[in-house]
């Protein structure tokens, strides 16, 4: 009996390698990324798409969306949405700039204050969603406009302008939050460029991805997030503090948005109150392309990262090709559709492939 069991396991193990790979939930997003990368690598070859500098173009762009996309992905796995990030990005930058520029605070005190403000707004989002049961799309749509309004009003009242300068913040803060980084190994002829002109936000993105990977896939909290998105009622019955968890996730996405706003302000030495409506859609596209199920309960951090990379390439890559730049949006729309269909297929493989039905 035991032997039989073992041999069956081994049989499964034998045919596993490829199937096992396809079964991984991020398989769809990874395959999409490779396809898009090869496509633009080929068509963009002549315009240096694959060089260090060329890659930085889309990596820098992707990093900012990516930092927000991962926590948005968490929320979507938990069955919620947060579109207030569009106004939280400028809010993060302005709070920092006002704190440092107007009140002369230390950069990091200002950054902490900015994070605290964002956390507070995220808390409010979460509280409204969990208390009122109004869909989070509507709640965060409302807060999006409330914050956008406050951004402009508070800026004008305090500083009399909607453009705040953020100068002389010191080399360490500049290095960590908003600078261009280049790494070249070797000297002269044998010099190898590892990367060139990558913004600090790229490295922050990697850090955020690692921390979030830990939260979702390694720590026990990940299980709670999945369970909440899969079936909230059952999750609550299983003793998961669904409301508190949801509020925490809204705080996370708000703080991620503020972080992006701060890196942008630090890099540009100026913070603007312009609401970034584009980033709302961009982050959602990245998450969906990354294989997160809109209805909740399914998704991975790795998938979201792949989705963001894919999106970054498609958004920026067209400049490296001979295609008309006006087709950019069309490419993104097609990408989204194809990605969703592909992810559905891969998800079906994931749920059914190993069932090994004996009828």
């Amino acid at each position: 009996m035991a032997n039989q069991q073992n041999s069956k396991n081994e049989n499964q193990g034998g045919g596993f390698s490829l199937l096992g790979l396809f079964r991984r939930p991020e398989a769809g997003a990874a395959a999409g990324f490779i396809l898009i990368f090869l496509f633009f690598g080929y068509f963009g070859w002549d315009k240096n798409f694959l060089t260090a500098l060329g890659s930085s173009t889309w990596l820098n762009f992707a990093s900012k969306v990516g930092i927000i996309a991962i926590p948005i992905g968490f929320l979507m796995i938990a069955g919620e949405l947060d579109i207030s990030v569009g106004a939280l990005i400028p809010a993060g930058g302005i709070v920092l700039a006002i704190a440092v520029g107007l009140y002369g605070m230390n950069y990091w005190v200002g950054a902490a204050l900015s994070m605290a403000v964002a956390g507070g707004i995220g808390f409010l989002n979460g509280l409204l969603v969990t208390r009122t049961k109004v869909p989070s799309l509507i709640v965060t749509l409302a807060t999006l406009f409330v914050i956008a309004g406050l951004n402009a009003y508070v800026s004008k009242q305090l500083a009399g302008t909607t453009q705040h300068s953020l100068q002389d913040i010191g080399p360490v803060s500049e290095f960590l939050m908003g600078d261009y980084h280049t790494l070249i190994l070797g000297e002269g002829e044998s010099a190898t460029t590892i990367f060139r002109s990558l913004q600090s936000s790229f490295f922050i993105w990697i850090f955020v991805a690692i921390v979030c990977f830990y939260i979702l896939h390694i720590s026990p909290w990940g299980n709670w997030i999945f369970a909440m998105g899969g079936d909230q009622e059952s999750a609550r019955n299983a003793g998961i503090p669904t409301n508190r968890l949801k509020i925490a996730l809204f705080m996370l996405s708000a703080m991620a948005a503020a972080l992006v706003g701060m890196t942008e302000a630090t890099l540009a030495n100026t913070a603007s109150t312009t609401t970034q409506f584009g980033m709302i859609f961009n982050s959602i596209i990245c998450v969906v392309v990354g294989g997160v199920l809109l209805t909740g309960g399914f998704g991975t951090v790795t998938g979201t990262v792949f989705g963001t990379l894919t999106f970054g390439i498609v958004f920026q890559g067209i400049n490296f090709t001979t295609f008309d730049k006006d087709l950019n949006m069309l490419f993104i729309g097609v990408l989204l559709l194809v990605a969703v269909l592909m992810n559905d297929t891969f998800r079906q493989i994931a749920t059914n492939a190993s069932t090994n039905k004996k009828k």
Binding site: P220, N223, A238
Partner: protein, 261 residues
Amino acid sequence: MSKTAVLELRHVDKSFGPIDVLHDISLKVNEGEVLCLLGDNGAGKSTLIKTLSGVHQPTRGQMLMDGQEVSFARPRDAQDRGIATVHQFGGTYPLMSVGRNFFVGAEPTKGWGPFKVFDREKANEIAVKSVQDFGITRITDGDRLVGGLSGGERQSLAIARAVYFGARVLILDEPTAALGVKQAAHVLRIVNEAKRRGLAVIFITHQVMHAMAVGDHFAVLIRGAIAADFRKGEKTREEIADLMAGGESMAELEANIDGAA
């Protein structure tokens, strides 16, 4: 068998505002016994389950566990006392793995302090073993997504989970309703296994065949009241079916009950 019942209801009424849903329900379920609650739709079965599992509180009457009066303010209180409710899909999450499903809300961890790590291997091992102990030998891989399992297997997973976490009373809400014949037989085997392990099982169904296969004790619920209460072998299948079908006319039912008494 003179031991006290694990769970007992005494003259429980439940009303929502002016609407009475349950009248004077008295029920008992002992260890290692299956109580089948039969009733047509709208008979008050779900309200009764919700009262038992702590979602609703009885308006009047008493609930006792091991002879001690209890009251549950929340479902969690009922769970802490060992009352586990398994609904049609058993609170399983289709897009999560067997191991993760099994331990939702009670994840095994390794590591220390803030660096706790979900112990996937341990979770998978325990989950697969528990499910296999219930006779579901087809589940061998704890990483498999639950969505790929059959309805019966998902039920079994939920029941195995409840047992693993120390349930003493298992409330099964129409576990066989959405299943085919083979799958239903599967679930019934698991109900028997739970009974063999000494659990008190409350099995809610409107399929008389399924009830007859596992039940020791039967209660027919009609319009919120217990219309008949009898033990295994006291009534034939036809009689029970008549009882349930006769729910439309109370007079006929009362005649039936009188006839049996």
